[in-house]
Symmetry: C2
Subunit: 486 residues, 2 copies
């Protein structure tokens, strides 16, 4: 057998010659470039040819021999092992030099394969859901972090439910500020809101179970339910969010069959609207009669300008069929990847178990920092500051819109918090969004939040992370892009 020229091998400085030589030889053997039975040059000659020490060469040859790639025959030399091709007939030519077709995916995988890959939210002016990152009290945050960063126990594990001091301070915060009835034992710390919803889907839904969702509504939630192959039942909105009367009066087909309902009662996403206490009680009553789980996503309850949000649905009675959820992505910052669930006591363990299967616990250092941030009052102070800041930005945006775009655009005032939904009748909002994006601005198309035929077109503009200049310039750009149809 002819041996390929070893002198063509190139070595770099970044790692050991030994590793590199071993990798080259393994590759040559696996790819069939060095077929079995080939005799290798003697180690001395090989070392000369490669320009490396003989010691390195013999170490590598010994390693490859111990792995079964090479075999040495006393007095004859070192050969590429004969065992490989004997066991797996014709292997190098037929199979391992070309691509093998891959096995099939699961039905879920196949279905997913057909859906478009959603772009991630770039941090652009007007990208919805982005808080004012520059206004985050980084200094305080880092001070707290310094206290914890050398604590060795925070490098290990502490259990899937979440860091105990964080669950303690969070439960107090939720009790006081959101009227949630909870003990630290009912809280599950999650990887953001998305894992929270996904856990609910796994634990509460069988494949194919019907789920009631707001329409328009939050896309992330729908995706988590679709991953469970749920049948989504869209429910239109009334004046204050989801239309409770339609549901309770049985005006929505199959609503009574829903195993679960996902709602944003404190601030409907994306159009705003706060369910009144009467509507909440009605909904609770309906859910308990129909045996339906309610997932209460307390989205954006922190940033209301009109009224303070009312207390959570979850807390309206001693035990409700409500799973309460929230996240720190908007109140602190998105990259934290921390969210939380408040589940009925009886369900805490099953949620912890499911979480341990899906992804385990959240980083402890981050949890410790957030716990102190809440405990020491920074969280509430930060929220208060942001509420005022966002209100100023919102008023400015409103002024701009009414000055520049009042003819074509109708802001949906109650949507305000960190974003403003604006209605732009008769516009292809997906195209408008793309055009706006090409100019360097984020937004979402209002139509994209609808499950069926959209009844509104327009944009969702996140204003929390915009500067005054960006708002002014952005609205000018938007004006130039909207071509009035009438």
């Amino acid at each position: 057998m002819e041996v390929p020229s070893f002198s063509s091998l190139e070595f770099n400085q970044n790692r050991s010659l030994q590793e590199q030589l071993q990798q080259y030889l393994t590759e040559w053997i696996c790819s069939g470039r060095l077929v079995s039975g080939t005799r290798l040059p003697a180690s001395r000659r090989l070392a000369l040819e490669l320009g490396i020490s003989r010691n390195t060469v013999t170490t590598v040859l010994e390693q490859l021999r111990s792995e079964g790639f090479l075999e040495s025959m006393p007095g004859k030399g070192v050969f590429v092992s004969a065992v490989l091709p004997k066991d797996i007939k014709g292997l190098p030519q037929v199979r391992w030099t070309k691509k093998i077709p891959l096995p099939a995916l699961s039905d879920f995988g196949e279905a997913l394969n057909q859906t478009p890959l959603s772009e991630h939210s770039q941090i652009l002016p007007f990208t919805p859901g982005m808080p004012d990152l520059a206004a985050f009290p980084k200094k305080t945050w880092l001070q707290i972090q310094r206290r914890h960063q050398d604590r060795i126990p925070l490098m290990g594990y502490q259990g899937g439910q979440g860091y105990t001091p964080l669950r303690e301070s969070l439960s107090e915060y939720l009790r006081l500020s959101r009227g949630v009835r909870c003990t630290p034992e009912q809280i599950i710390i999650t990887q953001g809101a998305q894992q929270a919803i996904s856990l609910c889907a796994q634990i509460l839904l069988n494949e194919g179970d019907p789920v009631l969702v707001e329409n328009p509504g939050y896309i992330g939630a729908r995706k988590a339910f679709q991953a469970r192959r749920s049948e989504l039942i869209p429910c239109p909105l009334g004046a204050n969010g989801i239309d409770v009367d339609l549901i309770c009066n049985d005006k929505i087909k199959n609503a009574h069959k829903a195993k679960l309902m996902y709602i944003t009662p404190s601030h409907q996403y994306p159009l705003g609207g706060i369910l009144t206490a009467a509507q909440r009680l009605k909904l609770l009553d309906w859910a308990s009669t129909k045996n339906t789980w309610l997932i209460e996503d307390d989205y954006d309850s922190e940033f209301h300008f009109y009224h303070k949000p009312i207390a959570s649905l979850q807390g309206m009675a001693e035990q409700t069929p409500v799973i309460y959820m929230g996240s720190f992505s908007k109140t602190l910052f998105p990259a934290l990847r921390l969210g939380y669930l408040v589940v009925p006591e009886a369900l805490a363990k099953v949620f912890i178990k499911a979480k341990s299967f899906m992804g385990g616990e959240s980083p402890l250092l981050t949890q410790a920092v957030v716990a102190d941030f809440i405990n020491e009052g920074h969280f509430v102070r930060h929220l208060r500051r942001m509420r005022l800041l966002y209100q100023d930005k919102w008023q400015h945006l409103n002024t701009l819109l009414s000055d520049e775009l009042s003819e074509n655009v109708k802001p949906i005032a109650q949507s305000a918090g960190m974003h403003l939904a604006i209605e732009i009748p008769y516009v292809n909002d997906s195209k408008l969004k793309e055009a706006f994006n090409l100019k360097g601005y984020g937004s979402s198309a209002l139509s994209s939040y609808f499950l069926d035929k959209p009844s509104k077109s327009g944009l969702v503009l996140g204003f929390a992370n915009t500067t005054m200049a960006q708002r002014e310039e952005g609205i000018r750009v938007l004006k130039s892009l909207i071509k009035p149809v009438k």
Copy 2:
């Protein structure tokens, strides 16, 4: 209607009187303590009774009115709203003062409910899987972190696949040191190894699909498959890890039906063993013939003392039906919660989509720090240092075992890396583990790694995170606990 005494309300200093009063009144109304039609005292009187300003009282009453809890009748006063109880008959008495039975869980949730809650790994001497946390180069780590911690883009989102520079440095590391064939586009950053396996289960398995697993083997993987309600097919081990011949010669019932196989070929968990190149090729051949996915968990490949691990199964041909996975929990530290998958190019998108449904992306700052840690050579240096350190600890532990426990204990040398599996014949290892735990030491029972009747009893001792004194004291304690049966 009689009005309860408001003077019993207690206010604390920690948050605004307004919030507290609002919460009290809402609770009283919801709980039926203040039934509808009740007339509230005039705001001036209420303020006096409560000892707070009238302004605060009127603000709260106005808020509750706007939420529909109260209604004002001109000239008559403010009343608890009549709308609530009319719509929801008899609500306060019947439903909302007691617990409502909860709706059912999913079949998965019910099944999970029946399983025991596994304890989390406490950081004790000998807890398996725990690296030497005190030896971690924290200073270097924090230096890198300081460079990144003020970067605002790292507070937002960057996409579910993972931070690009991390995928770049990781792909280079995996190519060079593990022979993995990959580009950054094939890498998916996950929340530890557990999410990696869970994603594979979702994307590659339908509910109930058979899965081949090593026996004894890694419990976390089995749990992820069981969450998908997979039928687990146990495969015994041979001298070098999973018994490839048994599989390929059709000696394992239903093995040919397996949709997926989970293996730790570089260092079988928990007993050690490295599949030879010939066995690997044979397995690849079998998998491609049977259309079976292989999940290659490259567990602990970094800490071999006998031989260097051979290159990955994934990299043995241009395209293999292999999903390669690893994590930074052992090479850096567990609380990082970072793992990775290398998937065939054609599958990258479906994995990114599934991940975005299950929990979204991993914290960006952490990813940025790990990227630089690898890029600047700290990672490889750290691994080299740990390899030497762990080898010393292992040798010390071996000496102790042969000096103190040679009669009852047989160390399984090839298991060594960060743990040592020791066989202790005729012992109830679960009880031994518990007794050892009561003395303040971690360990796992060897029998717990078996799917069916255990063929071995003993303990798995993680020695990486032990000091010399802990090893000495620990083995003395262990000796006192093992009661020879013979």
